[in-house]
Amino acid sequence: MFAVIRDLTRYNIEFAIGCLLVGIITLFALASFFAPVAPTMIYTVPPDMPPSMTYWFGTNSRGQDLFWQLSYAFRNTLTFGVLVAIISRIISITVGLLAGYLGGWVDRVLMFFNDIFVSLPIFPLLILVYFVLRSNLDMFTLALIMGCLGWPFDARLIRSVSLGLRHREFTRHATFSGMSPRKIMFEEHLPYVMPIVLSTAIANMIWSIGMEVTLAVLGFTNLNIPTVGTTLYWANNHSAMIVGVWWWILIPVVLIVALFIGLFLLTVSLNEYIDPRSRLRRMGGA
């Protein structure tokens, strides 16, 4: 595992840049644990101060230090992304391995539901959910809902790998030696799908964080929790661009774009590592 990561950083520039970007943002988010102020407090510092030595990222019109505000925001946003990724991974691994290994009617039933979930228009659906729940829609509820929506593509991918594993020699050996299906699935097959789980988990984070930002900017989440989306919502709400408080918008946008590109580079390089065909293409080009 470590050898793989070392090789990736050494020979795959995308992976190295991705690690760097995501690492910086994570460190920045972790800084919030040492924040001198609570994120919900307003008017703790003079409002509308441009970035300076005292206020690195400036302050906003609500009298908050943007450095600490954004640090909290990224912590919440990252937590949200990880939470959605974990929930949807649990569902997609379970569905994918069950459908792939057991096959038959289990596979058909699971794939039937899979197809329905694939075709759901998620964004309008989330707006309708907000319409019903209103301010009861907190971050954990949203993470739960999105986790339950964000698994079908990845489940299908895991299923196809697991289908291939089912006919491999070692599965037959395990079956004949009396290993239970549950044990085969989670001890023998799971390690094989782990790289896919990892790369799809990151792709899933890109998706869920993007969705959260969009919903929050439109005002469709709980606006009192600082996230990247709600930060932008409040900036728009105070017409930050028109009053000239550009740093309130520019800094979060730059940081979130950096996070997205970093995560994206990680999935791209991991996929290339997983898919032998693209590896071959790279060899051919060399």
């Binding site: 090789d7 020979y11 790279r282 060899m283 051919g284 080009g285 060399a286």
Partner: protein, 344 residues
């Protein structure tokens, strides 16, 4: 030594797969130092096990290779009338100009060589109209005549590939490759995916075309019975090298390489009840071939010398060459020699 009757001369040809990924460089010697020549109006068969390098060899001959497979050394010269050309030294336009007109290729996997969203007739215009160099009405006249000569109905021109059976598709592909009456035809496993009855038809068709046009045909297959039926001469490939070459009858009755003896011995014959002894082991990994004669780890006749020194491809008889230190000690597997005689 260059005979004017040779249409293709290959000298010391080497083609390697060269790969580098994650800092590891690998070199697979798929074609290693091959020298051979093909005469006009002959059928030359290339035989060998899977992963012996025979497919790589024929692709190199057809100038159909793509990276990571590269020609690293040697020469390959075609002689079409006054035109002499080495596809690996000529410009792309020059090579394109000989394709289909002089040199055509029947690729492995007839199931997938035709564009699935185009009718057969469009494939014919795409492939053959320009090389034939005649107006459209004459082109269609000739195409239809050619199809009829090969016992194919001109109706197939209006079909899509998926509407034809596998055997039909292969026959259409052969018709497509031969419609311009090329002097040199290369066929890669032309019968592999077909069932036995269709195989027979397709082989008859290739021979028919060859006889009508007097072209040279080079084909590859692992199926020794096809070689026995088709080829005038056979080249045996093992681990990227040509290990024996000679007239079909000679190779079947008096092989001078233990590997050939085994390939021939594995052929089932009517009335032959002897047990077939399979060759132990597998062809070597071409990224790291054994030293000396590459066959020595599996060879029943191997001596110390075989482990260190590479045997040259030496003349052992009338247009018969073999690369074996003990060529004189090779005996055909007795049960088949007289039976093979009866078949040939």
């Amino acid at each position: 030594m260059a005979d004017t009757d040779d249409i293709l001369t290959v000298r010391g040809l080497k083609a390697y797969y060269q790969m580098a990924y994650f800092g590891i460089e690998r070199e697979v010697r798929a074609v290693d130092d091959v020298t051979l020549s093909i005469r006009r109006n002959e059928i030359y068969g290339i035989a060998g096990e899977s992963s012996s390098g025979k497919t790589s060899l024929i692709k190199v001959l057809a100038a159909a290779i793509r990276p990571p497979l590269k020609v690293v050394d040697g020469s390959l010269t075609y002689r079409f009338g006054d035109l002499e050309i080495d596809p690996y030294k000529a410009r792309k336009e020059e090579v394109d100009a000989i394709r289909w007109k002089h040199l055509s290729y029947i690729m492995q996997g007839s199931m997938s060589v035709l564009n699935p969203v185009r009718r057969i007739k469009h494939s014919f215009t795409d492939f053959a109209l320009r090389p034939m160099g005649v107006p459209k009405n004459i082109f269609w006249e000739r195409t239809k005549a050619h199809l009829e000569r090969l016992n194919l109905s001109p109706d197939v021109l209006n079909a899509y590939p998926h509407e034809l059976s596998g055997g039909m598709r292969q026959r259409v592909t052969i018709a497509l490759a031969t419609v311009c009456q090329p002097e040199f035809i290369i066929a890669d496993e032309p019968t592999t995916a077909l069932d036995v009855v269709v195989q027979k038809d397709v082989l008859a068709m290739i021979r028919n075309v060859q006889q009508q046009m007097g072209s040279s045909v080079v084909f590859v297959t692992h199926d020794m019975s096809v070689h026995a039926n088709m080829a005038d001469r056979i080249g045996i490939v093992y681990a990227g090298r040509l290990v024996e070459e000679g007239p079909t009858r000679t190779l079947f009755t008096a092989p001078k390489h233990p590997y050939t003896a085994h390939l021939v011995g594995s052929l089932p014959r009517i009335g032959d009840t002897s047990a077939k002894s399979a060759l132990e082991g597998r062809p070597p990994n071409l990224a790291d071939p054994p030293p000396g004669c590459r066959f020595h780890p599996r060879c029943p006749l191997a001596i110390e010398k075989c482990k260190t020194e590479v045997p040259p491809l030496a003349t052992v008889g009338e247009s018969h060459r073999s690369a074996c230190w003990r060529a004189d000690d090779v005996r055909p597997l007795t049960t088949i020699s007289h039976r093979a005689e009866a078949v040939l």
